[in-house]
Amino acid sequence: MWNFPLVPPTAAEEALHISWLYWVITGMAIFFVVAVCAAALVLVVRYRASNENVNRDNPPESDMRLEMTWTLMPLVLALVIFFWAAKLYADIYTPRDDALEIIAIGKQWMWHVQHSNGVRENNELHIPVGRPIKVTVISQDVIHAFSLPAFRVKRDAVPGRYNSMVFTPTKTGKFHLLCTEYCGTKHSEMIGSVYVMEPDDYQKWLESGGKGTDSSSAPMSLEDQGKQIFTQLGCNTCHGAAGAAVRCPPLEGIYEKPIELANGQKVIADAEYMRESILNPAAKIVKGYDNLMPAYQGVASEDQIIKIIAYIKSLKDAKPAEASK
């Protein structure tokens, strides 16, 4: 009964930073609350109407120096906290390349997690300790939020767009995975667990195809599955065939590289761009090409899109096909 926690586990580098920030603000908060309450108490007792033995002469009407003090003091403190917190936020929610990529799809009412080697799991997330993890979230229906209190990170899973966060687990163990954006009837059952494992264990777990998850056999890697879907949906008839580059831009090596569009605009060919270009290819046509590709809106699921993008990403380091020359 009396053995219950009052703080969440601190299981990531980011969690440590945020905890520091949290407790500093909390310290300030407690200081102000105690100061205000104590001052009120002392003043109420001392200047109670029945106490005639107290000097009430010349009560001040206002005092500019005092006002400036308690205007500027909170302002300066607030600014310090602001910069600290904003910097920390930028570090965690800016995508980076060196992290292990994991994709989570939210749907009413479960989390569907996809590892880069193709292992899938539902309402569970297995990750190795000591390595930056980038979780990208998206939703299939309503807005959910992917919350990992032990790591102090959270991101809304918004339908139609990717959001991501980066954290580096420092402790092994089992932690909560929660949905924090209200999403309907079984909102409170949209929960799961995060298992942080030693890198070796994680490797074994991956190779076993995620024991204890819904996939029984050793899975194909995400890129391989992507390649399969690439064929299934007929993408390869244009993008894969020899001389394809005449009709469509080469996919090799374009991932996260800047490209120029037909209208002269320059964009980075990142996951968000790829997703849009699969669902609605005409939106951003690469310079020098015609709008020939059919739209896959309603054809490709979020799950399939993720795999196709993984496949295209695997072509990242390949040299652009020489066919165009």
Binding site: T94, R96, P258, E260, K266, E272
Partner: protein, 143 residues
């Protein structure tokens, strides 16, 4: 004594009215000329709609003419021209507040995606794009 009897003297400047209550009644001609100017602007609006300009330029032109028309209606038809300072203030307040809503909401949509693509807030977006694109060009050139 804090307050005293009101004996019905002239009100001081506290709250009741900003000066006199004599009202300007504009002449029929004034309204007529206003209408004429609005009609000319209407023709201009429609004509401008057929100019061969980019969509954004078209929006700027159309909105500029619309703002001029609105200001004329507000000042002449709605008699703000002859109104008290407070009426001026109210007439401006709504539009000013609307600009806040527009500015913030738009700022999100214009800058939202850039963040995801260009990490690092010390570098401006355009710098980043040009450096990466030109870097790419150089690489290709060296091949």
């Amino acid at each position: 004594m804090a307050k005293s009897h009101s004996t019905g003297g002239h009100h001081d400047a506290a709250g009741h009215h900003d000066g006199g209550h004599a009202h300007v009644i504009p002449s029929v001609g004034f309204y007529f000329w206003t209408l004429l100017v609005l009609m000319v602007l209407l023709v201009l609006t429609v004509w401008a709609g057929y100019w061969k300009v980019s969509v954004s330029a078209g929006i700027v032109i159309a909105l500029t003419i619309a703002v001029v028309k609105a200001v004329i209606v507000i000042s002449n038809f709605m008699n703000v021209k002859f109104g008290t300072k407070q009426v001026w203030l109210w007439a401006g307040a709504g539009f000013f507040w609307l600009i806040i809503l527009f500015a913030y909401a738009f700022a999100d949509y214009v800058s939202r995606d850039h963040w995801m693509k260009y990490p690092g807030w010390e570098q401006t977006i355009s710098e980043r794009v040009t450096s990466e694109v030109s870097g790419e060009a150089k690489e290709e050139g060296s091949h």
